[in-house]
Amino acid sequence: MEVTSSLKESTHGSHEIITASVRQPLVTGGKSMKDVTEDVCRQVEGKPTPAWMLAFAVSLTVLGLGSYAVYRVLWDGIGMWGLNKTVGWAWDITNFVWWVGIGHAGTLISAVLLLFRQKWRTSINRAAEAMTIFAVICAAMFPVLHMGRPWLGFYWALPLPNAFGSLWVNFNSPLLWDVFAISTYFSVSLVFWYIGLIPDFATVRDRAKGAIPKAVYGALSLGWNGSAKAWMHYEAVSLILAGMATPLVLSVHTIVSFDFATSVIPGWHTTIFPPYFVAGAIFSGFAMVLTLMIITRKVYKLEDYITMTHIELMNIVIIITGSIVGIAYITEFFIAWYSGVQAEQYAFINRMTGPYWWAYWSMMTCNVFSPQLFWFKKIRRSIAATFFLSIVVNIGMWFERFVIIVTSLHRDYLPSSWAYFTPTAYDVGVYLFTFGLFFTLFFLFAKFFPVVNMAEVKSVLKSTSGTIKED
């Protein structure tokens, strides 16, 4: 803020001297490179704080409770879920698509913003990528459990020679495309994340005191020494991985949307799904990054690295993607009417006014109306409002997936088979399990890995920080 105000004063004053840079500083507090190392390594090197222990214990408990639901679903079968003869998919695919969507912001921040040379990504990319990886693990739980006998899943889903002769998997099926898309997305994101971690692991290794941290971070850093040659290759690798991950982000959610779009169910069979799903994914992903980063910056005292500017920029992404999603909802309605297909028109009227009206209107409130509040600068720059709205968006995006899946299925062409889906405790339990898993992994990450990419923050420190402290 100081920068903007000094700029205004100078233009209104008699001297037309520009005393400040055009951009706001990305790192505040006049940090030196040493400060960056100290601030980020403090958590990794110190003992876990009571707050961390408590949060970790809570997520482990949730994971434990959820495990019981997973165990029953595996042992007794997916009949434990509330699926019925019309609603053959419900929470499983809803949760799957929701978690995959959450993952998208990580790759978007690290890959797309790298290609666009957006330096503000450096403070948040590490945690966002971690979020991607954990979210994709959670997402993968659902299709795996949905198989009923996942231990046979290897040759159901992968083109492996199997006991049935040369009967191969079906490459015409979007469900199989998903297998390839999600596993590629997961592995490429993991590699991208790890490549970025290597230099920081080396920093932690060189500071480590105990024998165990020395050995562990020594192994993880792969002997990195920061030579100019290694950095040259590192930058080439990062840039090309970003170039490959960018279309990958778009392809993954496009392919997820094909699960629906290539079918002939009214409400699913639409060409708008690929871009609409991608926008929704970025929307929910950024909301989750905000939820996590607002907590992390507070707990780890990283306010100088994850600044108000970062939060504001992410909120702007939320306005853009939220508006795209809103337009997509309206377009779907228009096309349903314009198609003249009665079944299609009914599917949409039923969404809005049928038995699931509450889910539809929750979705509209959370996704279309609430993010528009970010047009107000005061709300966009308020931590409390951002935190609240980020959770609202995540709830809304869950409802979006639920509305698309369940409301399109529960009333099919034959009114005698119409049904209403109600989740059982096991639907809820498996969902809780993934929450426990996600937060357990995230807390482990936040304790043992540097949450901010030190090397990259140092590289933008000089050009983007307010003032530089001289050593």
Partner: protein, 179 residues
């Protein structure tokens, strides 16, 4: 017992990347061979200043990506067209548009993994490899320029020191590795 071979270095420590960039150019101009420069973060333009060849990794990525494309298409055509052709949903055996998603994914997968594997091998990055650390601050907040004494025998130690100091190094140090 044979005598242990020693590699002796003189190190110039820099605290600013712009000073470092100029220093590299200056030191090379004065005819000194730089062993390597170590930084806590990527310094843009350093590789040009040091006269390194461009990274060959883009080419590796392209080659591996192409392998992925070929593998995916060969696999799907073999399985769906030759080995066990079936009509599914009235689609052609060789349903090329349906093959595009998997082809794309395998191209990216092999391209990314192949390139990263090449990166690890060419930089000799592997678990439990002992890092060659000239000064512990090279992964923290300082840039370290290492000059091997044996490879610059035309210059005396004092000459090298004065070249480094003159180029803006804030500290000069010695380092010896046992080879």
């Amino acid at each position: 017992m044979s005598q242990v071979k020693e590699e002796k270095y003189i190190l110039g420590i820099f605290n600013d990347e712009d000073v470092l960039l100029d220093a590299v150019k200056q030191v090379r101009k004065s005819g000194v061979k730089i062993h390597e420069v170590f930084s806590p973060f990527p310094v843009h333009g350093l590789e040009h200043a040091l006269g390194y060849k461009k990274s060959f990794l883009p080419k590796a990525a392209f080659a591996f990506g192409l392998t992925g494309t070929t593998l995916a298409l060969t696999m799907m055509f073999y399985m769906m067209v030759f080995d066990w052709p079936m009509i599914i949903g009235g689609k052609d055996f060789a349903a090329v548009p349906d093959f595009i998603p998997v082809t794309f994914e395998l191209t990216v997968l092999l391209g990314a993994f192949g390139m990263v594997g090449t990166f690890f091998v060419s930089n000799d990055l592997k678990p439990y490899k002992k890092a060659q650390i000239f000064d512990v601050r090279q992964t923290d907040d300082m840039h370290v320029m290492a000059i091997e004494l044996d490879k610059n025998s035309s210059k005396s130690y004092e000459e090298l020191t004065s070249i480094l100091t003159g180029s803006g190094a804030c500290e000069i140090k010695d380092k010896t590795f046992e080879a």
